[in-house]
């Protein structure tokens, strides 16, 4: 039995280590190729053991800081503004829904929940935002569509409020003469810190990684986030690749070199991976809470 146990443990560890490697190695390849010299990349392709290391790509990026510096700045601005607005909206919406004595609460809940079941899809959303609200090529285009508030987070937050903030606590505060706003800010929010930080993390990650709003609504390169820069470089490669088949002329070599593209991808991922170890606990907890039923 004991022997058998040991074998099983070893098997489980082996499988999980292999899966872990699967998760990590592709990043390593990305990372290493950004540190490979351009010659080695062209000669030998992407490799875990490049023949020649080089930091030329990062030097190039540093010398052309305006190329990605601005995109980086936009990403940070959008992430910060978006996350703050999203948290405010979500909390303000979730809190009243968590109060059992609010009349018409169920109707409002349904109003939110229904958006999870049915939606208008891309075409009407796009046409409305562009033609009615004119958000094309504005900051709003990056922040507002689809990311600002979603039913899933509202329900998650509401569930947290209902199950963690005891009613008697709020009643007591009311008897002490505190208004609803005061109760929310001074009583409920401090008690909900863990959930709020988890939510902030998830929303922030969503904004940091978003490239679709930029693709739909932004054509002005001054508003590109780092993800949009990456996305556009891919579109250009694909355009050149398809047109060079026809013309046989224009080559991919005219674009930022392969190494530089990889370096930009690394730079886009880097902050997330750096911050991740510090937040993994609350992120994992958030997934565990939010995953099931919200």
């Amino acid at each position: 039995m004991v022997e058998n146990n040991k074998i099983q443990q070893t098997v489980f560890h082996t499988v999980l280590i292999l899966l872990t490697l699967c998760c990590v190695l592709p990043f390593l390849l990305l990372f290493i190729s950004s540190f490979t010299s351009e010659d080695a990349l062209i000669r030998n392709g992407y490799s875990f053991f490049p023949q020649e290391w080089s930091i030329a790509t990062y030097q190039y990026l540093w010398n052309n800081i305006s190329l990605i510096g601005h995109g980086y700045f936009m990403t940070i601005v959008v992430t910060v503004i978006g996350t703050v607005c999203s948290l405010v909206l979500t909390i303000l919406f979730a809190y009243p829904l968590s109060r059992p004595d609010l009349p018409y609460r169920n109707i409002v809940s349904f109003f939110v929940f229904f958006t999870m079941l049915f939606n208008g899809g891309l075409v009407p959303t796009y046409l409305m935002y562009v033609n009615t609200f004119h958000i094309k090529n504005t900051m709003f285009g990056l922040i507002v569509p689809s990311l600002l508030m979603n039913a899933f987070y509202v329900i998650m937050m509401r569930t947290y409020f209902t199950s963690n903030i005891h009613d008697s606590l709020i009643e007591a505060a009311r008897l002490d003469g505190a208004g609803e706003g005061k109760i929310l800010v001074q009583l409920v929010l401090p008690l909900s810190k863990p959930m709020i930080s988890t939510l902030a993390l998830m929303v922030g990650l969503g904004y940091w990684n978003d490239w679709m709003n930029g693709m739909y609504y932004i054509t002005d390169s001054r508003l590109y986030t780092i993800q949009n820069i990456l996305n556009n470089m891919l579109t250009n490669i694909q355009f050149l690749a398809s047109s060079s088949e026809i013309t046989g002329g224009a080559s991919i070599a005219d674009l930022p070199s392969v190494g530089i593209r990889m370096a930009i991808a690394v730079i886009a991922v880097f902050p997330v991976l750096c911050v991740y170890p510090f937040f993994q606990k609350s992120l994992i907890k958030g997934i565990a809470i939010g995953g099931v039923k919200g």
Partner: protein, 311 residues
Amino acid sequence: MKKHATAIKKDREWQKFRYKRNRILYLMLLPGTIYLIINNYIPMAGLQLAFKKYDYAQGMWKSPWAGFSNFVYLFKTKDAWLMTRNTICYNAAFIALGTLLAVTVAIMLNELKNRLAKNIYQIFILIPYLISMVVVSYIGYAFLATDAGFLNHVTGGSTNWYGTPGAWPFILVVIYLWKSFGYNSIIYYATVIGIDGSLYEAATIDGATRWQRIKHVTLPGLKGTILTLVLLAIGKIFYSDFGLFYRVPMNSGLLYDATMTIDVYVYRGLTQLNDIGRSSAAGFYQSMLCFAVILTANAIVRKIDRENALF
């Protein structure tokens, strides 16, 4: 009598107080309500565009009606069948394989004795979840590029992966699993931890082996979560991750047969082909099918097991 009067007065004050309090609560609901109306409900109303002939000058609301012509036009092409088939088949594969992998990993995590190792595995398997599909495309490109790609480099081949549709069902499933299994494993693992420990003890006392415990305690404990997550996934069976099907294959025309899902079709129609009629018809088709599927799936689950239904 006096007592009664004060009671009424008190009651009235209470009513007034309640009204004032609720007014503040409703005020809190206002910004979110406005956002949901704009972001979700107006586009729902905008679905009517599928029955209109879109006119740029007149916009979404004032364009003239066109009956079912957009749909006729859409379903005449082979695209309609292709994108429906792709969307459903990929999602079916994702649901089946994704659930299998995630549940297996969750159970393995639970069976491990070493706490530190458990935590480390959890941290690492979540990493792919943290990055955007654009970055995934770059990693994919590093593996699949024809001249410099890792795959061709290692195998010594010179396959043009971005021109080989046959390989993409496999590639896309692998990438999907790679990106999502950590996230789902953690959800299942959280449920496994929540299973009452005394059940395991009882099973062990009864002489159950590890596999018997997994089969008779862990899996039944996971049933509810599996049902809920599968139900949610089935509800989205007509949706696809746009980035996975458009960005990762580099929007390569040679791959359309293998990569075109409804979302890709709608996007391409809207922005590249300027075919708003067919695009909005496809969007309408998607929204309606999805709504019908989620209601049906939920009704079935409700019948089997009320507790795990969504609503």
